[in-house]
Amino acid sequence: MTLTRAEVDRIIALLEGSRFDRLSLEMDGLKLDLVRSGATPSAPRAAPPPVEIAPPPPPPVARDGLVEVKSPLLGIYYRAPRPGEPPFVEVGARVEPDTIIGIIEVMKLMNTARAGVTGEVVEIVAANGEMVEHGETLLLVRPD
């Protein structure tokens, strides 16, 4: 099911002629959200949650005082945003809890993995493009 440009225009005209400020339409995998400009989105539809995995709980301290940064879910680990681009982090890089350290792909859905700790990357443990388990160590970080 798709909508033509003309059909979307007609739906917009209907919204403009109505007393509503907002219209959400969902049909067969297609989703259309229209908001009248200037309208205060009084009760906006809850947007689908961004694909953002909560930062892992404070990671356990591993050997030599290093912290293991673990994968928040099972999937394919990518060190870079895209093939050919530089990795998010290299050995020696400084990370903060929010620093993105990689992408975990689950059936074409990309999830960001974050460091969850402040410190310096000492070792990249997981291999780029390989599957990692939930809880598998991705990096070792020397915490501050």
């Binding site: 099972l74 059936m107 388990e133 809880g135």
Partner: protein, 451 residues
Amino acid sequence: MAIRRLFIANRGEIAVRIIRTCRALGIETVLGVSEADRGSLGAHLADRVLCIGPAQPALSYLRVETIVQAALGSGCDAIHPGYGFLSERADLARLCEAEGVIFVGPTAEQIEAVGDKLRARAAAEEAGVPVIPGGAAGTPDEARALAAAIGVPILVKAAGGGGGRGMKLVEDARDLAATMDMASAEAGAAFGDARVYLEHYVATGRHIEVQVLGDGAGGVIHLGERDCSVQRRYQKLIEETPAPHLPAVTRDALHAAAVRFAARLSYRGAGTVEFLYDVPRDAFYFLEMNARIQVEHPVTEAVTGIDLIAEQIAIAEGRGLRFAQEDVSCAGAAIECRINAEDPARDFAPSPGTVSTVRWPTGEGIRVDTHIIDGARIPPFYDSMIAKVIAHGADRAEALARLRAALANTRIEGIATNLAFQTAILADADFARGGVDTGFLARFLDQRIAA
């Protein structure tokens, strides 16, 4: 296509059960476990273990994409969903189809056809299988007219429900409209489908189901029936085959009806067609079909000698049915007791914890399907069933005697279980006579409280 490596998308005893058959068939196993199940028996037995997420099922065992990603990433060519969890989720079957992974089960379309109870009811009627008087009612007027025709008491059922969930009883026709509104609102919230339908309430019934195998091309055979009438709040506790004291003509008609229903869907794999048997009228009605392996499958295996998991795998490999109806014969009787980590003294509250020591029974005709060994943890996140004790004998009396002896030789320390409760049921005179209805257990509990 021969399956070389199988991903098991389940846990507990059924994961162990699937691994056992895979070993016999020379198929490698990869088990997806949650964090809580890393140390489980299944994790020790599988060839490879992948942690798929945290303990909460919604973040691990119920994640369709994670399961398929784990199977693809570990080089599995098939996924076995077991029972519960994702076993009857059409979206898993569909994603498997899209990714070229064999789903050990029916097609996504068949799962949907039987998952919609109203659609399944219509399919039963088309297949000439008796259904309980009732049907859909779109408007309050239609509902009133239908209620007048079928008579009270009436069950209001959710089209998206099943397995005893999403039902409400109406004893007075004046309550019908209000109950339907409430049932519809609840069904919408619970199943994402607000449609409800009406069925006459059969007060004295037995739950009898028929095991079928379909090749996916219209060929269907049955492997006899199971009587699962000993239930507490629609949860089965004891299952047996054959169904005691069932007239031979009725038994044959039941088997034939199940085969007709599954054949109409060109059903693929192992499935169970459930019926309500109206005892005083010697009549049976279609309830629903379960599109998966059932918890109680071992009693059928005991009397037929057929490994149902192996047949599921053979069908999934495209090898069809490996025997004809006349090759299937049922020898003797078998009874299964479910052992649950729950405390009958505290209204059957779940009792998770660590099993310090356990002793399972052995002996002639005894089989135990379990994942519980000394030191096993029972996490609070999952179903409380921890084992099934199955006894097979030349006849029902021998099977029952063996099961009683087996339970007497079972010890589970460290957690509360329903072992003593099950022992008491097996000692009951009505149960020993056989053929109790689904109201038996409630009466049994009332008597115990009164005593």
